[in-house]
């Protein structure tokens, strides 16, 4: 790894958004504190999404109290696999993915066995607030496993690829596909080692890929050329992301979606503090897009109009 630094002016010229500016000028200004619950609490997000006709992964059950923990085996008995996540978790912490349930035994995506008592301890930690923001008591959500779309076969290692879109004031401005790797332990979080592939807002085609903030060309585990990727259902994904704006009323929003083999695009979660690595994955700064949206001023565009506008103006070839 090279220890080289960029000139601030070079980054500024390329419109690179930095953490401080994101926090003050975008999150602080566009995301009203009172709506955070809609985003930070995955259970609330799920309910809101259902009310707004946005498809989400199926809910198997919710564990709210310690004494309910032991009902989990019964809850998941009929499932092929399941996911346990803290409702208020952040950064992918505390998500337990079980891809195989066999005669009361549970297996992680990498084939490692998880005993019921491991599951109980994990859920107990979740309820105690170990993974939640500020250590507040939390509830655990048990969700159905996502059967991921085979289009991504070979692009993701032991995990579900998800599509992150940054939605600014209702406009999808930048997109990225996140692919898990062996290094990321089946998780799609970039800081844990997942691969990020920048995706053209106009077409859903891959543009550029990074791992650990460094550009790469091939998936480290499967050696598939990453920018050949093309996300199906792209229009639908853009619409879903755009609708999430009305639903959450957050101006600067990250939407995480997955493609289910059977159910199509599902909204996984929303993020009020989406990370900045998406810029590296797209190999360009996000600020010109954000400024373009700001220039529109007050508009009464519908979801369809916004998606059309975004596809036209924010695609890779468009000049801003």
């Amino acid at each position: 790894m090279k220890f080289s630094f960029a000139w601030p002016s070079a980054l500024r010229n390329n419109g690179v958004l930095c953490m401080n500016k994101r926090n003050i000028d975008y999150i602080g200004r566009c995301n009203p504190r009172k709506f955070y619950k809609r985003v930070d609490d995955k259970l609330t997000t799920k309910q809101l999404a259902l009310e707004n006709n946005i498809a989400v992964p199926s809910l198997i059950g919710v564990v709210r109290e310690q004494h309910e923990i032991e009902s989990i085996p019964a809850m998941v008995a009929a499932e092929d696999g399941f996911v346990i996540k803290p409702s208020k978790g952040s950064g992918g912490k505390g998500i337990l993915v079980i891809t195989k349930v066999e005669a009361g035994r549970y297996y992680k995506p990498n084939g490692q066995e998880v005993t019921p008592s491991d599951v109980y301890r994990h859920v107990s930690n979740v309820l105690s607030g170990l993974f939640s923001l500020g250590g507040n008591p939390d509830v655990a959500i048990v969700e159905g496993l996502i059967q991921f779309d085979p289009v991504f076969d070979g692009y993701s290692y032991e995990g579900v690829p998800d599509i992150r879109l940054i939605v600014y004031k209702g406009f999808p401005v930048m997109g990225m596909l996140r692919l898990s790797t062996a290094a990321s332990d089946g998780k799609a979080n970039l800081h844990q080692g997942a691969v990020g592939v920048g995706v053209d807002i106009g077409t859903g085609k891959g543009l550029h890929a990074v791992q650990f903030d460094q550009p790469i060309e091939f998936h480290p585990d499967t050696n598939k050329k990453l920018i050949d990727i093309e996300v199906p259902h792209w229009d639908f994904l853009l619409h879903t992301a755009s609708k999430a704006y009305e639903m959450s009323e957050m101006g600067y929003l990250g939407t995480d979606m997955v493609l289910d083999r059977d159910k199509g695009p599902l909204l996984l979660e929303l993020n009020a503090r989406p990370g900045l690595a998406i810029q590296i994955a797209n190999n360009r700064g996000i600020l010109p897009y954000l400024d373009n949206v700001d220039k529109l001023g007050n508009h009464n565009m519908t979801v369809d109009e916004r998606v059309e506008y975004a596809k036209k103006h924010f695609c890779h070839s468009a000049q801003l």
């Binding site: 980054l11 401080n20 460094q214 810029q279 360009r284």
Partner: protein
């Protein structure tokens, strides 16, 4: 969008008030800007002696009044005598009295003074035009001639006095002056001649301060008024202006020592030079002046030492804000490093680091056993706290047994913080592996070490406690950094791939 003007005005205000109050404190109250600064002080002892005749005796002795020196401590001592100090601050006198005394009497007055650096003697009010002196017939003509001669060569009060001083000490004095000096003391004659021309002047006496001198006498000088200021002349040797080591003792123009009911009275002085802490001196002076003082030195000692620690926290916090907002380092637990740094101050850095790593490593081992027990989080943390206390107790005992006194300071670590650190690290270990634990733990220790280095610097400790205004400046800086929307240092590296093209 809100206007940012009020914000910047607030920040500027905080900044200016903070700096100004610190400078005021430094200049006006003489609180030194650097710790460990020393100032010279003088201890002067005046010994008044006289022979008592067995009748009631009264001694009036003038006390020093000199703007160039600040009195720190003064104490007259005189067993058996009644004592009162009278007069305004410019003209203080000690009055000793006794119903009956016989034989040799010794009265003492001891004073500790420090130089203030004010060498000018400002007149408090316009002095009265002095009465013209009536010369004896034998001197009248000589005096008038001498005065006119010098007067013709002068332009102002001051130049008149200088010329006169010169004439007094010329190698070949005029006959007139020779005649006058034969029957008058130089200083008296000097004053009379000045007064004759309506120039206010008076005799004063001063003491030359020289280390370890005993049996010194006062020297006579003449003060001449010119334009709101008194100027010092010594007509006996022709010098003008005040020497650095001169303490003006008596500026009343009256006699320095009056004794009623005694004979053979005399006064002599002994003195000693000393160095003392500039800070302690400034505090003594403030105490003497009864100045409205917002310093924390008015608190009881215990609270003072408590505040010495508390007032370091803004420095640590500033450090953390800087490292996070400007540099972009991550710390586990926002202000945990500050608390660890506070503990380091008690333990010293190396002992602190070793102790911290030992406790956390031991804690992690025990925590890994606890994690198999499937406990609730709250009771698990409580158990870790108790175990941490046990570990600290064990280490303290062991280091005591082995005679390692450094080990005893380990008790200064905040236990709750340690327990949470252990819990977090343990989860991190399970989720992301030992590498991340070393990385994050090391990062936190690094920040704590930097915070410690900042907080343990003697001049920073001196500043945060003695110049409370500095905290307003820190507040202003923290507020400003809260507005910083530029790139963090580490982001310049992170986004390096985006700088190209």
């Amino acid at each position: 969008m809100h206007s940012k003007k009020p914000f910047y005005i607030l920040v500027a205000l905080l900044f200016i008030v903070g700096i100004a109050s610190s400078i005021f404190r430094g200049i006006e109250h003489n609180v030194p800007f650097l710790p460990g600064k020393q100032v010279q002080s003088w201890t002067v002892e005046a010994k008044v002696q006289f022979k008592a005749t067995g009748k009631p005796a009264e001694v009036s002795f003038s006390l020093p009044s000199d703007p160039a020196f600040e009195i720190l401590v003064e104490n007259p001592s005189s067993p058996g005598y009644g004592l009162s100090i009278t007069g305004d601050p410019q003209n203080k006198r000690a009055n000793w009295s006794i119903r009956s005394a016989t034989g040799q009497q010794n009265l003492y007055y001891k004073v500790t003074i420090i130089p203030t650096g004010i060498t000018k003697i400002k007149a408090i009010e316009e002095p009265k035009i002095a009465d013209t002196y009536t010369w004896p017939e034998t001197e009248k003509v000589a005096a008038e001639q001498a005065i006119e001669e010098v007067w013709a060569k002068s332009a102002t009060n001051l130049s008149f006095a200088s010329q006169l001083n010169k004439a007094f000490n010329a190698d070949e004095r005029s006959q007139n002056i020779e005649l006058l000096l034969s029957s008058n003391s130089p200083s008296k004659l000097f004053v009379h001649m000045l007064n004759n021309k309506g120039v206010p002047a008076q005799e004063v006496s001063g003491l030359y301060l020289e280390d370890q001198r005993r049996r010194q006498q006062l020297t006579n000088f003449v003060e001449v008024y010119n334009d709101g200021e008194w100027h010092l002349f010594n007509p006996s040797d022709g010098t003008q202006g005040r020497p650095d080591n001169l303490l003006l003792w008596d500026r009343s123009g009256k006699s320095t020592l009056d004794v009623i009911g005694g004979t053979n009275s005399q006064v002599n002085f002994s003195m000693l030079q000393d160095t003392r802490s500039a800070l302690a001196t400034a505090l003594d002076v403030m105490n003497n002046q009864g100045a409205l003082d917002f310093s924390l030195y008015q608190l009881p000692l215990e609270e003072q030492s408590l505040f010495k620690g508390i007032l370091l926290i803004p420095i640590g916090v500033l450090m953390v804000v800087f490292l996070r907002v400007i540099v972009g380092l991550k710390t586990s637990g926002t202000f945990m490093p500050v608390l660890i740094a506070l503990a380091f101050i008690q333990t010293t850095l190396l002992t602190g680091l070793i102790g911290f790593i030992l406790i956390v490593a031991f804690g992690l081992m025990i925590r890994s056993y606890l994690s198999q027990l499937n406990l609730l989080l709250i009771s698990r943390i409580s158990a870790v706290i108790i175990v941490v206390i046990g570990i600290i107790g064990l280490f303290t005992l062991l280091s005591y047994k082995f005679g390692l006194s450094e080990g005893l300071t380990i008790t200064f670590f905040p236990m709750i913080i340690l327990a949470w650190t252990i819990e977090r690290m343990s989860i991190l270990w399970e989720e992301e592996g030992p590498k991340e634990v070393v990385l994050q733990g090391g990062g936190s220790l690094f920040v704590a070490t930097l915070a410690y280095l900042a907080m343990s610097a003697p001049w920073i400790q001196h500043w945060v406690f003695n110049f409370l205004g500095i905290h307003l400046v820190i507040l202003a800086i923290v507020l400003l950094m809260g507005q910083y929307t530029g790139y963090r240092l580490l982001e310049l590296r992170r986004f390096k791939p985006l700088a190209g093209e």
